[in-house]
Symmetry: C2
Subunit: 485 residues, 2 copies
């Protein structure tokens, strides 16, 4: 491709994206592709000769688009959002064009230093205390790909610190029954669990009526393990669970961890974004007790995937768990103490992801980010009130709404009610007018009985406005009524 | 940003990148920034109000560019390349604009199915046998971020398989002394090594005069471990080491692994790209014995970071090591057996990275990729001959050249010669006209003596042509002569 061809193809691609964002609202949100559709349409073998760019782009529309589930649609209410924005996409583009690998400070000093400052900016925006900032001797932050990686890295750092204190100790980790699957996965990767069900070195702590971890049960489990000679070394508290945005009480959990010397990691993957607003900072109450925390601007803060922010107040343990320096990476700057972010992550290489975050923070400003968050929380409150006021006869709200996620379900208990809720979700998603997903909430009595199938309405799309939420509610009501007849 | 503003800013960004690629050759390759330069220039706090796009972009030139080490420069010969190309960058842009998360088949069927087919296409291009293809019942491939992650995932799959066969067994892993640091890092992450020096469950096998793993020493180490009741479970063979592109003899290593039931992972991160040319397929001789392998199109195959391809002939062990299904991810397609790539990787979320690979394969075609590889191998041979013929009085080639990396050094042994080589490298890089890095090669006699400081010339930039290589040699000669006077 000549430079002129690149300019033409690039301008056309920008226009394609602008057009896509303009029309995405009108597309069925959940892809209607059947398994194998695209595989059947693609050649079995790669082309021998290069093809014309126009032919390739035509195939994007013809072959790829029918297989896209539209995460950027304002009618996407599934999982948690993964919202992009124009400045972020341009930052990703610039990062790809520069094509630098920021594995070492020396391999592009700007990549490391911009990242360091962006983590400090964001720490200020969400009100993190000084020990997590790069201006503190033992603190600082880094961009990871995902919160899964942050949870794993925190676990590895915790192990490093625990084994330094008690070599050979039998270590035990703790998190709630409502935690994200990535914590169990981290334990499997780290060798602390042989299977998802292996509870020998990973305890799942019970929750209260709001689905938040019970500190008394955590303290009791730690006490039992310590009495048996095991070492409690890692606790993951979730601020905003994936099921229902439940908030583990970090302020109560922190002192329990401190007493046992356990590393406290706070997984605020989704909810952390809300803390750019002072009125939601209570979510992180007690974070001063944490050794690490993370949240994902790539979920609800206008920054395209991947961008997870990880902070620690004990960077020596993180680097101690992950640093290996072969000769071919040695350089004067590293030896003089420069930050080499490869030692803060699982991979060696890394893209220049701080660019997109810088663009987002400067384009929107603190003010713009707060307006973005507040709008969605307001819409979630509106949706909740619609369900209660217009739908109260048929629907219930089985979990408290914390921020922008509303859990709701058709009334009724037992398998038949679950099945009606499942069928309703399928009906809604089949319309293409909205896309929601589900969870199963534990029984309200905190017992071990079967959980309740529940629909989730997560409101966080960059382009989601009140009319989209109102229309989604109309679709839900309509489909629920049709199902009753 | 309005759609019209996005179009204007996007077109300008495309033009900026086109202009950058046109002028990058003239920029000092290694950034001349001093530690803290960018930090001092950036505001300590984020802006309260959003800023004008023009002001942000002006700061890219003013603040960021001085801190960039130009990986896309045709004069970049350091580490291994991380070459981008116009079609790949446009693929990354499209992926960001679509903003889909391909964690499950259902969350964008096209993301999964295009990836599956691209891995099959590439398997065909590099001549991988049928068991690694998705058309085989137990095989298939996936895009990972980096070869570090592939090495780790292979280790986890190997552990899963070994513990299924022998629950509770004491497992031992093997790789060569010349392996990439990521293998040791993987062992630390997986809990098989407490530190980079911990050799209780990770053996480093000695190498021959070409710096390739010695199968006899591997067999001996495995025999000793098995005799002591330990279970050899994982071997990583490197095809193209980072130090010198040494090639471990997979054909000889394979049967040794098979005899012990150990998982064989082939790390061809850099060299695998060469196998698009039939004349270099010997690099992967014996790969039919492997359980997994990986290579990075993001190094030498025109696809911007990150894009590591991982294939396995035992996907059940991979998924068995990494799969956890919480309720909120359950869906009909998964239960019907669709491929969910989240179960093949460390993170949960994932970008639509197959787009850029599809664009590259179609734009260049097999023919274009072969021409790209052959050009650089020819230039490496040219560089080697220049060193031997014009520089033979002062320089030596201390490691055989395999493909596009030339190891060379000023003649002489001992610390003084190492110091002269180190000083030469610093002089070359200070010119800004080329950027090379170094390694330390083990003693030629295979003993435990001190290694030899050696310069590395890796030729793989998308825009690197003969004149850049000839000029780099002139710079090297000139600086070496200046250092002698």
């Amino acid at each position: 491709m000549t430079p002129e061809q690149f300019r033409a193809a690039g301008h056309a691609m920008i226009d394609w994206i602008a057009d896509y964002w303009a029309r995405v609202e009108s597309l069925p949100v959940l892809s209607r592709a059947a398994p194998g559709d695209l595989l059947a349409a693609l050649p079995a073998s790669p082309p021998e000769r290069g093809e014309a760019w126009e032919a390739i782009i035509a195939d994007v529309d013809r072959l790829i688009m029918p297989g896209i589930t539209h995460w950027q649609s304002p009618n996407f209410f599934a999982f948690f959002p993964a919202n992009a924005s124009a400045p972020a996409v341009l930052g990703e583009l610039l990062s790809a064009g520069l094509g630098v690998n920021g594995m070492l400070w020396a391999t592009s000093p700007a990549a490391t230093e911009l990242e360091t400052r962006m983590l400090d900016w964001m720490a200020e925006l969400i009100g993190l205390p000084e020990p997590f900032r790069s201006t503190s001797p033992s603190g600082g932050g880094v961009i990871q790909g995902t919160a899964s990686e942050s949870a794993l890295i925190a676990m590895l750092a915790a192990r490093r610190r625990a084994l330094n204190r008690a070599p050979g100790a039998e270590l035990v980790a703790y998190t709630s029954t409502q935690t994200h699957s990535s914590i169990v996965k981290a334990a499997m990767i780290a060798g602390l669990a042989d299977s998802p069900q292996d509870r020998r070195r990973l305890r799942l702590i019970g929750v209260d009526g709001t689905f938040a971890m019970r500190p008394d049960l955590l303290a009791e489990a730690m006490r039992e393990d310590a009495a048996a000679g095991r070492v409690p070394f890692y606790v993951c508290a979730t601020v905003g669970t994936t099921s229902s945005t439940a908030v583990d009480p970090v302020g109560a959990i922190g002192p329990i961890c401190r007493e046992r010397g356990a590393w406290l990691h706070v997984d605020a993957a989704h909810a952390g974004a809300a803390c750019v607003c002072p009125e939601f900072r209570w979510l992180l109450d007690g974070v001063e007790h944490a050794d690490s925390l993370c949240f994902n601007p790539h979920k609800w803060l206008l920054t395209n995937f991947d961008c997870d922010l990880f902070w620690t107040s004990d960077k020596a343990s993180v680097v101690g768990a992950l640093s290996i320096t072969p000769e071919y990476l040695r350089n004067a700057a590293s030896e003089a103490g420069a930050t080499d972010y490869r030692d803060w992550q699982i991979p060696l290489g890394r893209r220049f992801r701080a660019l997109k975050l810088w663009f987002v923070l400067r384009h929107y400003g603190a003010e713009g980010l707060r307006a973005h968050i507040r709008q969605h929380v307001r819409l979630a409150a509106l949706f909740e009130s619609l369900v209660r006021e217009e739908g109260g006869e048929h629907f219930e709200i089985p979990a408290p709404r914390t921020i922008n996620l509303v859990c709701f379900r058709l009334r009724g208990e037992g398998p038949e009610a679950d099945e009606r809720n499942r069928a309703l979700l399928d009906r809604i998603n089949a319309t293409g007018e909205a896309y929601l997903t589900h969870t199963v909430l534990p029984p309200a009595d905190g017992g071990d009985g079967p959980g309740r199938y529940t629909l989730r309405m997560a409101i966080g799309g960059t382009m989601t406005r009140e009319r989209h939420v109102r229309r989604a509610w109309e679709v839900i009501r309509r489909e629920a009524a049709a199902a009753r007849t």
